[in-house]
C-alpha cells in the first residue's frame, strides 16, 4: 500500500480551493492521554503527558506530547514528561509571539531568547534527600542577554522577525537550536526545582537500581526525569515541528498525502529511545519546518510510541491517524474528545499495553471533505490485514488438512472421513475468502 500517493482526482481539483480557503483560525486542537493497560496491571502510573494551546487572537496553535521512560531507574519520568510539555508550550508561545506579536510585545519576550551557558550540569549536584543544601549553580545571570547570530544581534534585526525566515534551512537551524536549547535548559531547571522541593525518597532510590549511587552522589539526576518530547507550532505561514526521542508526528497534507516530516533518529528503535536527559540532547533535537503556502496541511498529529507499538508495521500507524482524521471530520469536537477518551484504553489493551498519548492541530472542515477518501483507505488497509491473517491461518491449517486427508484415504473410516470433512469445510471457506480478497482491486 503506497501511503505517499493517496491522491484522488477529485482531491486534486479541490486543492486550489482548499489552499485558498484554509485559515489558521479554521484549526482546532485536541489531546488525550490514557494509562497503558500493562501500566494498570503492573500498578505503574501513567508516564505520558500531552497538552495543547491555542492563541486567543487566533494566530497560532501549539501541541505537545511527551513519554516518560519506563525504565525503573527513571523514577520521576512521569513528572519529566509533564515538565517537558509545559516547557514546550511556554517556549513555543513566546517563540511564536516573538515573530507574530506587535513590536512592544515582541520586545518583552526577548528575555527567553538567550544564549544559554552550559546548563547540562545544572540538575546534578542537587540535594538528594532533604539535607537543606542550597541550590547549586546560578541561573539568574541568564536573562536579557541578546541573541547572537550571523545576522547580528536581535536588537539589530528590525523587520527581520518574519516567521517565514524559518523556511531558510540555515535560519531554521540557528533559531530552532536556540529554541530547543532554551527548552532543555528550562526543563532541567524544572527538574532541579522539583528535586529541591522534593528530594528523592528511599523508595525511589531503591527503585533506581544501578543509578542509586549516582543519584546519591548528586549526579545523573536528569536521568530520573527522562522523557521524550514532540511539539508542533502552527501559524498561518508555517508548521514548526520539534522532536527528541521516539513517538511519531504524522502530517496529513491538503492534497491527501501523509508524511512523517521530522527526520528520524536511528538510535530510536524498538524500546530504545533518545531522551531529554541525554548528554547530547541539545545536539540531537530534530526539527522540520513546513511552508504552508506551498504545502497546506489539514492535520498534524503527535503520538507517543504507545500508538506505533500497537501495530506490526508503520501502515498500522498511518491507518490509526487516518481513522482519527476521519472521526474528526464527521464528529463535533466534544463528541470526538469523548470518542477518543473511550477508545484509547481498549486500544492500549489490545495493542502495545503502553501509555498512549495523542495530540493534534486539525482542520475539521477540510478533513470532513475527505471522509470518503479516508473510508476507502481504511477499508483497503483492513482488506490487506484480513488477507494477511487468512494467509497466516491457512498456513497454520495446511499440515493438519493434509494429514487428515491422508488418514481418511488410508483408513477409509467414517470417523476419519467426518473429521476431514469438517476441517476441510473451514479450510475451503478460508481459501475462498482469501481468493476473493486477492481478487479485489487495489490490493497491495
Amino acid at each position: 500500500m503506497v501511503w505517499a500517493e493517496i491522491i484522488c482526482t477529485e482531491i486534486v481539483s479541490r486543492i486550489a480551493v482548499i489552499r485558498e480557503k484554509m485559515k489558521i483560525t479554521d484549526f482546532t486542537t485536541f489531546h488525550e492521554v490514557t494509562q497503558g493497560y500493562l501500566h494498570i496491571t503492573r500498578q505503574i502510573g501513567c508516564e505520558d503527558y500531552a497538552d495543547t494551546w491555542s492563541d486567543p487572537s487566533g494566530q497560532f496553535h501549539i501541541a505537545a506530547t511527551a513519554d516518560g521512560h519506563g525504565d525503573p531507574t527513571c523514577v520521576r519520568s512521569a513528572r519529566g514528561a509533564r515538565f517537558a510539555v509545559e516547557v514546550a508550550l511556554t517556549c513555543l508561545q513566546k517563540f511564536a509571539r516573538s515573530y507574530l506579536g506587535d513590536g512592544e510585545e515582541a520586545q518583552s519576550v526577548q528575555e527567553y531568547r538567550t544564549e544559554p551557558d552550559n546548563q547540562s550540569a545544572q540538575v546534578d549536584n542537587q540535594p538528594v534527600q532533604g539535607d537543606n543544601q542550597p541550590v547549586q549553580g546560578d541561573r539568574t545571570g541568564q536573562k536579557n542577554r541578546p541573541v547572537q547570530d550571523e545576522q547580528g544581534t536581535a536588537d539589530d534585526r528590525d523587520g527581520k522577525n518574519d516567521i517565514r525566515n524559518l523556511l531558510q534551512p540555515r535560519t531554521a537551524g540557528t533559531e530552532l537550536k536556540r529554541l530547543t536549547d532554551t527548552m532543555l535548559m528550562l526543563w532541567r531547571m524544572k527538574c532541579q526545582d522539583d528535586l529541591q522541593e522534593s528530594p528523592l525518597t528511599d523508595e525511589e532510590l531503591t527503585a533506581a537500581g544501578m543509578y542509586a549511587d549516582y543519584y546519591r552522589r548528586g549526579s545523573e539526576l536528569a536521568h530520573a526525569y527522562g522523557t521524550t518530547l514532540i511539539a508542533a507550532l502552527m501559524t498561518e505561514q508555517v508548521l514548526v515541528l520539534l522532536q527528541q526521542g521516539d513517538g511519531r508526528c504524522e502530517v496529513i497534507f491538503a492534497d491527501g498525502t501523509i508524511d512523517q516530516p521530522i527526520p528520524w533518529d536511528p538510535r530510536c528503535h524498538e524500546n530504545v529511545t533518545t531522551s531529554l536527559s541525554d548528554p547530547d540532547a541539545a545536539e540531537s533535537f530534530r526539527h522540520a519546518v513546513i511552508d504552508l503556502s506551498k504545502d497546506p496541511v489539514s492535520a498534524c498529529f503527535l503520538g507517543s510510541d504507545g500508538v506505533e507499538d500497537s501495530f506490526d508495521g508503520m501502515d498500522g500507524t498511518h491507518a490509526f491517524y487516518i481513522s482519527l482524521a476521519h472521526e474528526i471530520g464527521v464528529m463535533p469536537r466534544e463528541e470526538f474528545q469523548d470518542y477518543l477518551h473511550g477508545m484509547l484504553p481498549g486500544f492500549s489493551r489490545k495493542g502495545s499495553g503502553d501509555d498512549v498519548s495523542v495530540a493534534g492541530i486539525v482542520c475539521a472542515e477540510t478533513l470532513g471533505q475527505y471522509r470518503e477518501n479516508f473510508e476507502e483507505i481504511l477499508q483497503r488497509y483492513r482488506t490487506v490485514k484480513e488477507t494477511e491473517e487468512i494467509r497466516r491461518k491457512l498456513n497454520s491449517m495446511e499440515r493438519k488438512h493434509r494429514i487428515l486427508k491422508e488418514r481418511m484415504e488410508q483408513t477409509g473410516k467414517d470417523t476419519d472421513a467426518e473429521a476431514f470433512r469438517r476441517y476441510d469445510e473451514r479450510y475451503q471457506e478460508l481459501e475462498q475468502r482469501y481468493n476473493a480478497l486477492r481478487g479485489k482491486p487495489d490490493h497491495a
Binding site: 503492573r42 544501578m210 524500546n271 481513522s323 497466516r392 498456513n395 493438519k400
Partner: protein, 262 residues
Amino acid sequence: MPTPQDLEPTPRRVLNIFYVLDTSGSMTGTPIATLNRAMEETVQVLQDQAVSNADAQLKIGVLEFNSGCKWLQPNGPEDMEDFIWQDMSAGGLTDMGAALTELDDKLSRHAFLKSMTGAYLPVIIFMTDGFPTDDYKKALAKINENKWFRRAAKIGFAIGDNADTQMIANIVGNSEAVIRTSDLELFARLLRFVSVTSSTLASQSRTSTEALTGADIVKSAMEEGVIEEKDVDHNIKVEVTSNDAHAVASEDDNWDDDSDWE
C-alpha cells in the same frame, strides 16, 4: 467504518510454545513411544486450555533433532487448534548444536515471530536423553545473543541416566529449571504439567523484572507435588556461554531498555 480498535484482527496476544526434542538413536523403542504418547496427550490438554484462555492465543512449534534437525511444521508455529501430532521415529546422532542454530534463526520477527507486537515471551521446552554429538557450545553462545531466547521461559528435561544434565542446564541457563528422571511415565506426566503450567503462567501479566522463568515452572511442579526435590539437581553449575558480554539475562534486565529485537 473501522475504528482503531478494529484495525488489527488479532484480539489476543500470542504465546508461542516451542518443543526441542531429542529423537536420536538412543530414544529407539520405549522412549520414543513414550515421547510420542506424551506429546499427543499434552497437545490435547493444551488445545482444551487454548479454547478457554481469553488472554493468550497459543501457538506451538516442534523441532526434533538427531543427525541435524527438522521442524515438524515447516510453515512455522501453528495455532493450537490446528496442531496435530505426527509420531516421530528415533535414529541418528544428537546434534543439539544444529537445533540451537536453527532455533536461533527462527526466533526472529523475520521468521517465526513475525507478528509479535504485544506478544508474550515464548516458552521453550528442551528434552534430551544423551550427550551432544556436535559443538553445541558455539551454537549456544550465538543463541544467547538472541533476546527472544534469552528472555524466553526455558525448561529442560534430562531423561535417563545417560542424559547430559550439564548441557541442558547450560542451555536453559539455570539448574533449577532442569528436571531429570529415568521414569518415562513420570516424564510424560511432567511434560503435560510443565506445558500447561507454562502456558497459564506465561500469559499472566508480569513486570519486566518478574518475567516467567523455567525455574518458576519447575518450582510450581514441586509445589504441586508432581516432582520431588531429588528430581532437580541443584549442584549443576551453569556454564555461561555467550559471545556478548551483556547477553546474559540478569535481574536488572529491563524490557524498555532492550534493543535489537530482531
